[in-house]
Point group: C2
């Protein structure tokens, strides 16, 4: 997306005896292709072509296209799940935990934009996709529980249906993948602050 | 989506001498298929199969698959553009116009969910798609102008970047197509009120 892939690759030293791309670089280009053309419509041959290498060079790193997908989705989900493991997400008032989790989620979205974009498009057509969807739903449920706890303690308004509240929150946050450009004028931290300001206090001047 | 297609078709009188589906019903099923499998991956043969009719029966109503797409996208865009023609969108304070347009946009999204879903997935691969994208951008620009005018008059907060504000607003509203179910417990009017409450006043209790 940022057009820095080639130079990024050049800066990394390939492992000895293995010409060309390392696993991480192949994964990065693969996620780009999946996002451009769709996972189903992308072949390992196209990936090799984009990399300027052979299919066997890719199979040196991955056993199958599905393994590429699994690793890409794990990159997105691992980032989100790590948020929930942090003390600030697990202790203290629900209000504070929710604020922390939402802020960190926006940062992960921005920093892992390509793999999160891929994750958000997964529809559950294969086992790998279904497992990823299940992990995504578990993350969403934990956030929904925090929303409910914050409603119960009275810090979040209760005049809007609980599920609608959570869905509008996720809708706003997930939509970031449609337009955010890493390296642009808005830093992940700034965007996280903006999202929290809009979601919690709204756009109206007070 | 609602499973009422068959009975809906039965209620409409087919034009004399033309057995089976009328143009509107073919369009409805086509949009369903496009949303399920993607426009590019859907053939007129699959559409005929789903309808239990022949391709020639479909070509009786449409000259090409692209014409089906054009009409479907026009249904979505026509609904949105009609909002901007109403007096309440064009006169009075920017704050009031913006509130009116956002509320009506949510209602159109809910009431024309399948065709708006299709519209939001358009990426501009053909002339028809590019024309639809241009109309969608014109609608978005008008809303963005209302946001800017409401910021200028001081009713919307100015501590968040103007483009970020508009994008988060659209992000929240457009995400409705991912989960809203027509005929469910939440009416379009209720959802519109909820979206405005969250967007303008936020989720925090005051």
């Amino acid at each position: 997306m940022t057009g820095t892939t080639k130079s990024g690759t050049a800066e990394r030293a390939p492992r000895a005896g293995r010409p060309g791309y390392d696993q991480g670089s192949v994964l990065e280009i693969a996620v780009q292709l999946f996002n451009e053309h769709g996972y189903d419509a992308t072949s390992m041959g196209q990936l090799a072509e984009r990399l300027g290498t052979s299919k066997s060079a890719i199979y040196h790193h991955f056993t199958s296209k599905e393994e590429v997908l699994a690793l890409a989705l794990d990159h997105a989900l691992g980032g989100l799940e790590a948020i929930l493991e942090k003390p600030l997400a697990r202790t203290g008032a629900p209000d504070a935990s929710l604020t922390f989790v939402l802020r960190e989620a926006v940062v992960v979205l921005c920093e892992r934009l390509p793999s999160v974009t891929l994750l958000l498009r997964v529809r559950g057509n294969t086992d790998v996709e279904r497992q990823a969807l299940e992990r995504r739903r578990a993350f969403d449920r934990t956030v929904a529980d925090l929303v409910d706890a914050a409603r119960a303690e009275g810090t979040l308004r209760r005049d809007i249906d609980s599920r609608t509240t959570t869905r509008l929150l996720f809708g706003m946050i997930n939509s970031i993948v449609e337009w955010y450009r890493p390296g642009g004028p808005i830093t992940p931290d700034q965007l996280a602050a903006d999202v929290l300001a809009v979601a919690l206090d709204g756009l109206r001047s007070h």
